[in-house]
């Protein structure tokens, strides 16, 4: 039996000689599995090829049940012998774990159609990029205000750190200083354009743009450089609520600011007239909320992770009871929710309450589908299979990693906006080296209403290289312990 310990991290808390919760749970898993073999529950012939994955998912809530069976299929969907049992050591509880493991082992024999947990399936298996989490994500940003009213807190409070690193005053101040220095250098060389454009994609509450513009104006006045009078700052977002809120937050900058509705996947489409003109582009926590795929390499073979959306069996019963609906009606109601919004299902607050409960109950079952040699659907726009092969060449043999296709597409469609001397700065959670994928589960995690996943920085480096930019990653030094890092581009020679 192959046990993969996917969480490799030194404990930050003093333990006084006691094992950490995760190491205790890991011990329980291996002990339970050995007992299952000894008791004949797990076939001794099957056990040597079984893979066990031990994760410690940083997001307290996520899309997985604590114990999950991952089967494999051929490219055409026929069952293959390889199977995995994945355990989230953080979610699992010591009392129920041996039973959950035994049930998972038994379900391996029962075949892919078994539904021992009585889950309510909402969809077929499909790649992460096409699964229902994106419909929920769109719903969240469309009805952001309604969700926040119901939860009683702003969405930034739902971020893992409780606030957005975007607004850190020193980070904003340093960003402004870097930009001002660039402008001064260009002016010294007589190469500063008459109009200076800045752009923020994914504007949040507008707090960062406001702080940035205030600081830029103050620095410009202090230095007497008169750059502010030439500055036009564009706020771009696809959520009307966010955009409206952000534009209001920077209203005191008058005509220096405009709001542009845009799709983060293709900012170029909305801003074609600004091709090669924008000196500064900033994004915070946008890429981690864009569609991705997961690839897995096992025994040299590449698999695409496919997921099937379901509502957790035991929780469905409570949900139907609380809302007075039948189990059979539920899939149709969820479809209605995702298409027409919460008020298409129930009037008033009950609609949002229903939405919130569905989200709490919502989970994803995974399977690994072998990739056909000729298949290219998982390759992000702007990249070719050879880029992925380059990534895999630098990746460890047994690995699960993201193809951050949304981030890659967004990045590739933002770079053509940059002025030759301009730069792009992204604050987000990046996996900057492929080897780091071995050291922990990188999402997706479930936030309050939306989702987050780490971004494959190595992939963005490949996208950048292709488009004429070197991509660098620097730690975010302003908040100790943060997982945020800063991506910035420099022109590639």
């Amino acid at each position: 039996m192959i046990v993969h310990i996917n969480h490799i991290s030194q404990s930050k808390k003093p333990r006084n000689g006691k094992p950490s919760p995760q190491s205790e749970m890991a011990g329980l898993v291996t002990g339970s599995l050995m007992s299952l073999v000894e008791d004949g529950v797990l076939d001794a012939k099957m056990a040597p090829s079984l893979r066990i994955h031990l994760d410690w998912i940083q997001y307290k809530t996520n899309f997985r049940d604590p114990v999950m069976v991952r089967r494999t299929t051929s490219a055409q969907g026929q069952a293959l012998p390889l199977a995995e049992i994945a355990i989230d050591l953080r979610q699992a509880d010591a009392t129920g774990l041996p039973i959950a493991l035994a049930r998972a082992v038994k379900s391996l024999d029962a075949g892919p159609q078994s539904n021992v947990e009585n889950h309510l399936y909402l969809d077929e298996f499909r790649p992460y990029r096409d699964c229902l989490i994106w419909s929920f994500n769109r719903l969240f940003w469309r009805y952001l205000g309604d969700w926040e009213n119901a939860s009683g807190k702003g969405f930034e409070a739902a971020l893992p750190g409780g606030s957005s690193d975007a607004n850190h005053p020193q980070a904003v101040s340093d960003s402004v200083a870097d930009f001002w220095t660039l402008l001064r250098d260009l002016e010294t060389r007589g190469q500063l354009p008459a109009e200076i454009f800045g752009l923020e994609i994914g504007v949040g509450s507008g707090a960062r743009a406001a702080a940035w513009l205030d600081r830029f104006k103050a620095l410009d006045e202090q230095c007497g450089t008169n750059f502010y009078s030439r500055l036009h700052f564009i706020l771009g977002d696809y959520s009307p609520t966010s955009l409206e809120r952000a534009v209001a937050a920077v209203a005191h900058h008058g005509d220096h600011v405009s709001g542009v509705p845009l799709d983060a996947l293709n900012p170029y489409k909305a801003l074609t007239a600004h091709r090669f003109k924008i000196m500064y582009v900033h994004l915070t926590n946008v890429y981690d909320n864009l569609p991705f795929d997961d690839l897995v390499r096992r025994d040299g073979k590449l698999y695409l992770v496919e997921v099937r959306a379901y509502l957790n069996g035991p929780l469905v019963d409570q949900l139907t009871a609380d809302f007075g609906v039948s189990r059979a009606d539920l899939p149709g109601m969820v479809e209605k929710l995702l298409e027409g919004g919460p008020y298409a299902v129930f009037e008033g607050e009950k609609g949002v309450a229903f939405w919130r409960r569905v989200w709490d109950t919502f989970k994803l079952e995974e399977r690994l589908r072998a990739l056909d040699e000729r298949e290219e659907d998982h390759v992000p726009p702007g990249l070719s299979r050879t880029h992925l092969e380059d990534l895999l060449a630098e990746a460890p043999d047994d690995v699960r990693f993201h193809i951050s296709r949304g981030a890659g597409e967004s990045f590739a469609n933002t770079l053509p906006l940059l002025h030759p001397r301009g730069f792009l700065q992204v604050q987000d959670i990046f996996v900057s080296e492929m080897d780091d994928y071995r050291k922990g589960f990188r999402g997706p995690g479930k936030l309050d209403g939306s989702l987050v996943t780490w971004v494959n920085g190595a992939l963005l480096r490949a996208v950048g290289a292709r488009a004429g930019y070197d991509v660098h990653f620097a730690p975010f030094p302003y908040r100790p312990g943060t997982k945020t890092s800063i991506l910035y581009t420099t022109q590639r020679d």
Binding site: G190, Q191, R275, F276, P416, P420, A465, A467, G468, Q491
Partner: protein, 335 residues
């Protein structure tokens, strides 16, 4: 014998669309998984196809499409006698090698004459060959010998002068010098133009000087106005200056009202940094606007820069539009 050129002759800047499969093959060659012989065969096939596309589109002065060149630097530094190139310094063909000069450049040939012979053998059209200029090479080769960039550029001019003469002996009639780095270092212009003049001294060919804002990775390397070229460029011993206008707009055409240039002007009417294929009508409008400030007899019609970053169907479509737009204006001129 090639037929005489029409009014408003059309030409390319040099490079044609690079097939993705050839990019992969070039990378394979760098990783020593493909032989030089196989790669050369592929290059020749693509060069012939590029010639055919240009001829079919109706281009008056064609190039070989430059598929054999990894980029506008390495092709020359690899061949330049006395420049040391670290052949292990790149994995992706389009990257630049690290190159360095540690002693005075030797006198010797770069072997570009093969391009002239290739063009003579496989096309009956008038053709041209592009060469990166001394200023551009100075900015990319690490200088560990010459006291100044200017001195280095002049010595490059000396070696390149011999090469241009070799090309003419091999049948080349039209030569183009590419200098995209002028736009980033306008302060170098006084000595950069002198280096050009050293390079073309005694060369019996039509010389074009192409000055753009860069096209590396399909994006500009610099921005600004062509104002910086004047009046220094008026001293260049060239027949044509070629500039980009399609992407940048035509404001700088007014410079030709202000300065009486003693040579022809090649105007970029095709934006090579977008996949959108211009209409022939759009091209014709651009030419008409140029005619307001430059006489037809002195106008040459070109894309903004090389087509290397465009897909073949896009590149071909753009050349067809350029030719059709030019024909429309020729008709209006009654020529």
């Amino acid at each position: 014998m090639t037929p005489p050129l029409p009014i408003l002759p059309t030409t390319v800047i040099g490079s044609y669309s690079m097939p993705e499969w050839l990019e992969r093959a070039k990378n394979e060659y760098l990783s020593r998984r493909l032989s030089k012989r196989d790669l050369d065969e592929m290059h020749d096939a693509v060069r012939k196809a590029a010639l055919k596309d240009q001829e079919t589109a109706g281009i008056d002065i064609v190039s070989d499409g430059e598929a054999q060149r990894d980029n506008m630097i390495d092709y020359f530094t690899e061949r330049m006698p006395g420049v040391q190139v670290d052949l292990g310094s790149k994995r992706f063909y389009y990257d630049f090698y690290d190159s360095i000069v540690r002693s005075k450049l030797a006198t010797g040939t770069l072997g570009l004459a093969e391009e002239a012979r290739f063009l003579g053998r496989f096309s009956d059209h008038k053709s041209k060959i592009s060469i990166s200029g001394p200023h551009t090479l100075v900015k990319r080769i690490q200088n560990k010998f010459y006291d100044t960039e200017e001195a280095f550029a002049f010595d490059l001019g000396r070696v390149l002068n011999l090469e241009l003469k070799e090309l003419v002996r091999a049948g080349a009639t039209d030569l183009q010098i590419d200098e995209p780095y002028y736009s980033g270092f306008p302060e170098d212009l006084p000595w950069a133009i002198k280096a050009i003049n050293a390079m073309v001294d005694g060369v019996n060919a039509n010389i074009t000087l192409h000055v753009c804002y860069g096209n590396r990775y399909g994006k500009p390397s610099f921005e600004g106005s062509y104002k910086f070229l004047f009046p220094a460029i008026l001293g260049a011993k060239i027949n044509t200056v070629s500039m980009e206008f399609a992407r940048r707009g035509e404001d700088d055409l007014q410079l030709f009202k202000e300065f009486n240039v003693p040579f022809n002007v090649g105007i970029g009417v095709i934006d090579v940094k977008t996949n959108e294929v211009e209409s022939a009508g759009f091209v014709a409008d651009r030419i008409r606007r140029a005619l307001e400030v430059i006489p037809a007899e002195r106008l040459v019609i070109t894309p903004d820069c090389g087509l290397v970053r465009l897909h073949r169907d896009v590149a071909f479509g753009k050349l067809c539009a350029m030719v059709e737009g030019t024909k429309t204006v020729r008709k209006e001129l009654g020529r």
